[in-house]
Symmetry: C2
Subunit: 325 residues, 2 copies
Amino acid sequence: MDPRSTADAESRSTHLAERVRDGDPRAIARAMSLVEDDTAAGVELLRALFAHTGRARLIGITGPPGAGKSTLVDRLTREIRNENKRVGVLAVDPTSPFSGGAVLGDRVRMGRHFADSGVFIRSMATRGQLGGLARATTDLAQILDASGVDVVLIETVGVGQGEVDIAKSADVCVVVLAPGSGDEVQALKAGIMEIADLFVVNQSDRDGADHLVQAIMASQSLRPAEPGEWQPPILKTVATTGDGVAALWASIGRFLAQSPSSSTERRRTRHQHRLRELLAHRFLTSLEQALPAGELDKTVDRIAAREVDPYSAADALIARAFSRR
Amino acid sequence: MDPRSTADAESRSTHLAERVRDGDPRAIARAMSLVEDDTAAGVELLRALFAHTGRARLIGITGPPGAGKSTLVDRLTREIRNENKRVGVLAVDPTSPFSGGAVLGDRVRMGRHFADSGVFIRSMATRGQLGGLARATTDLAQILDASGVDVVLIETVGVGQGEVDIAKSADVCVVVLAPGSGDEVQALKAGIMEIADLFVVNQSDRDGADHLVQAIMASQSLRPAEPGEWQPPILKTVATTGDGVAALWASIGRFLAQSPSSSTERRRTRHQHRLRELLAHRFLTSLEQALPAGELDKTVDRIAAREVDPYSAADALIARAFSRR
């Protein structure tokens, strides 16, 4: 590679990192695209920004479709903005493989924050490899963190292993349910009742809200609790009017204040996952480069033809990769 | 390790593999537990069984909660049994992190197959690492394949990246929706409309079934189609009575007959993913063994303290691992 172009790329990446740190929304959007597209420039950028991360609080907002998460995130954003804090929103929307883009939807409702430079909103596509979603979410949250936001709201559909993993690795995990839609059954099935630090019964002006509160309490009675341990409160909200949202924000604050060790532990877990993913990813890249072109494809063909089993094939490839050095 | 115990383990694993190949349900269940618990014996077993796989067809049944997938799987199982074919069912149920087991539920309905030795049913927990669900599903399907089943039905909730990936990597992907529950919106959001080889409108005796059929047709009109390419049919069923299930099974057969290349391609993709996962998994294990004890933990601590960024730390660990050899 032309050394000038490398130097150029580096200086561009340094320049972009500076603009991200200044909170420039266009730079943030550009940085996120570089990272989502899995580019070398994206990695350089994350590396440059890393020292400036660790300040933002990550709040996971999860629950079944139709629970009103987007509206709640919108109201919560306003509540946090009232304290003059800066907010980033990552909405993990499943994607369409053939449209290639995120499905348009309730993101539109967030339009009212469009002119507010203290709010940055990004819809994420769930395309790509297994585990890619969690990695991309962590990376995008880091960009927001480095850009100076105080709070990152991560909205995920609380169904699906990847999505649940994302929510539970945040500093706080808020599980949102709504009455009358069989939500509690879905939530039980998805295993999200156990990851909640706080429960929200949204649309609590509807019939069945009290029943839902009781169902949540019943599910929690099975949860083993240590004396002095945080008991997930059940908060009622009506996101469409904003009722109860201030109390929710206050309760999130109490959780963060009372459970600093839990937050430290989750941050450590996030770093650990990220390091393991990076190690695996880089090893596979190095391996592909170390092997003759097409070698991995040939191995897959041999596996498909049952000439070799994948376990022996993996062992042989790893042995070859290590012995070459 | 005591060489006798290794030999013992090997002979036990060979013995278990033989019993799996004989279709012994207790051996199959034992083999699945060894694999789900990520044991060395599980790997040995998969290695021994691999040469005997590749015969079974994998049918993904996916859709939002409440669409009636379990009942449909039950009816489809009966339909396939009528042809004297053997059936394995893998139900991917989200799990409870603190109960540690799969949530009890509609599995109970499958009880009628309990005494039928031609049917093997397993509920899977979605515990563990990101991506672990897809890996475990592939492995358990291989065990069923080696045990001589003709068809593996894989039932997943069609929401969540991991679950969608599992469904679309099967030889056939059946997307199940039901009228009147906003399913089509959920399905659109989850990106499952595009992975369907066949659509099922279940509970088609209910109001709104025709509307749902039309909504599916509308969504498909956006799908680019090559001349001669398979057009996903929309089949109506009433799983509770069995109406339409024979037609569904016939249609699945037509898809498999008409699209052999698509099936070959998906099998290749499954092998490719599996090989990459194995390589990454084994590399991490080798790396942990190659490094001084606690080195990875120390690195995570340094990352958490912002003394090093994860990207540089990963590079340094990989360089060390390779240079030691």
